[in-house]
Symmetry: C2
Subunit: 367 residues, 2 copies
């Protein structure tokens, strides 16, 4: 599987399988010494694990392009005094949908070598990369210092099949022995039926290739629609996803309006959007390890009947831009409605704030 | 399920489900403060967990009857200076096959109340109790201080279906909240297909009742055979199993003979028994958290084709003692052979030691 898709010919002895990538990342953080470097925004799962394990950690906020830069990484590493540091690199990235290209990874790897940084490269979204030829594993670029984690849940849309794997760095013999002990101590194994399913899932076949191809294209079509629609909104900055089924939308343009309406945190923004009449669920900034007052949000675009959409795609592949918009409208009405609702929410917010201030003005005149 | 089989009417809010009882016990040890009291001999999984979590612990060796006594428990608790202690009670017990009766549990519970001891009552073998009416859960006797753990793997012979549950004590609201966080942080959930299987498994039906009944009887027949055969051996002390599919055999009668043949540890005894011509696998003392030189061993009696034996039992239920011996001989030839081999091993050992010493004698005469 790794050889076929990622051009990585890995000795099976370097691979450990566990009940979910999440648990394997937890186990890796358990055995690895040193301060954890966590780029933000981040998937909400890493920080609770770091905290539960009482590890030292530092956030590494990403720049406007929403990727970490080698120079920021070096600067932070120089401030840390541990002999070893651990970088959690989520590539492709949840929540931004962005992909690190080969050059970017090489530059990051250079800093990691220079500053003794081990990398946990969480590549759970690898197979969702829209142009799959662009995906490069950090395990290929920095094999001596990278722990690659991956699993079934995203690539095979099998979140309920708890099976993940980790590829250990070359020459990490002691760590492997320690890791094996931890796995044996904390849990026995992945459930047997799931193991059988995984054997099938990791086989190379035309069927599964077609499946990956089609799901990638569907994610891409949905993603581009959502990206374009949100970008039309005044002041909203949106990441352009190259993988996953998420993007990050920055609504901080409306910060003062939101505050005027007592929506003081990203949490409050999420709550305001989910109630009537909007019914739209977003994942707000504080769940993405951003400041509580950062009005950025992850927008997911998978709210449709997967089997039906898959069949419809097979029947008639959308080719032109118009086909694709039509495809989204027909197959994912809830996504279309959700984006409209976000747009309406902010339009109404502007109006409410204007009304509020004119009311205040008239009150002050009366006084 | 708990109401029907264990006469315990538990609020579902007190129950947490996880990927295997092993992992739930690990998570419990993670959240519970205080020194762990570990009765020995013990299942091999507890100690590595305690060590990995860097918890204080004390062994509590059981007496000749191989159960802990309330007075020993009190004595140990008085020596420990933590405000809270944790007792790991494995009932029915692996490796001895013994069952704590209601009176014994009540006496232990009294000490626990008096000495602030929380109990992790690992009842994974509950359904294997031969006379099921004798099984009483510690959760019934000491509901305010007992964490009951159980799962599918032994009762339903579904070790590969990683699903366990824990019943929290009454009024443990804070601990439940903390536990929930740990579960969410370390892993996401039990695999979906396993959850569906478990729903079926925990339903009450005549079919599953019959299944429990028959498997209990088969374990009982096999256990009694093994118990009787091993008891015939000179000097060997054997626990009489009332549950599980194990018993504990004490071969320390042969200690000096074993040492004479350079079999200095229980590990070496296991190794000597597995090689040609004996081919018999036992779990030796040091895997049971006993002294390395304690020649006690767990003997498991499940080495047969389960489906076939189950069918044969259904076809013709063995009634008399002779029927039962015949049943074992027909259905479990590997168990019969294994016991014979253990017997032969020790016979040969005696002879070898005699030869060795007469050789030594003749040598010393020549000198």
């Amino acid at each position: 599987y790794n050889k076929h898709y990622f051009a990585m010919d890995i000795d099976p002895k370097r691979i450990y399988v566990g009940p979910g990538t999440k648990e394997l990342i937890f186990n890796l953080l358990e055995i690895l010494h040193g301060t954890v470097i966590l780029p933000t925004p981040a998937w909400l799962g890493y920080l609770p694990q770091i905290r539960l394990l009482k590890k030292n950690f530092h956030m590494l906020p990403t720049q406007a392009n929403q990727k970490i830069t080698p120079s920021d990484l070096r600067k932070l590493a120089l401030r840390l005094h541990d002999r070893q540091k651990i970088l959690i690199l989520n590539n492709p990235n949840n929540p931004t949908g962005l992909l690190y290209n080969r050059l970017e990874l090489e530059e990051i790897a250079d800093v990691c070598k220079e500053q003794s940084i081990a990398v946990i490269s969480d590549e759970i979204y690898a197979q969702t990369t829209y142009d799959f030829s662009k995906f490069v594993s950090m395990g290929k670029i920095y094999p001596e210092g990278t722990f690659v984690t991956n699993g079934l849940s995203k690539s095979h849309a099998a979140g309920g099949y708890r099976l993940g794997y980790v590829i250990f760095p070359l020459h990490a013999t002691d760590l492997k022995a320690q890791f094996k002990k931890i796995l044996a101590t904390e849990y026995t194994a992945v459930s047997t039926p799931i193991q059988y399913a995984a054997v099938k899932g990791f086989e190379i076949s035309n069927e599964i290739n077609e499946y990956f191809e089609i799901t990638r294209n569907i994610h891409k079509i949905m993603g581009e629609y959502v990206y374009k629609e949100l970008s039309k909104m005044e002041g909203v900055k949106v990441t352009k996803p190259e993988a996953t089924f998420y993007l990050l939308a920055d609504f901080n343009h409306y910060a003062s309006d939101l505050q005027a309406m007592k929506i003081n945190t990203s949490q409050k923004l999420s709550e305001a959007l989910i109630v009537h009449p909007y019914h739209t669920a977003i994942v707000g900034g504080d769940s993405l390890v951003l400041e509580r007052t950062d009005y950025s949000a992850r927008i997911a675009y998978v709210d449709y009947d997967g089997v039906k959409v898959y069949e419809n795609y097979q029947k008639k592949k959308p080719i032109t831009d118009d086909d694709m918009i039509e495809f989204v409208r027909t197959n994912a009405p809830r996504i279309v409605a959700g984006i409209e609702m976000i747009s309406k929410f902010f339009e109404k917010l502007k109006k409410d704030v204007v009304n509020l201030s004119s009311k205040r003005d008239s009150l002050s005149i009366q006084n």
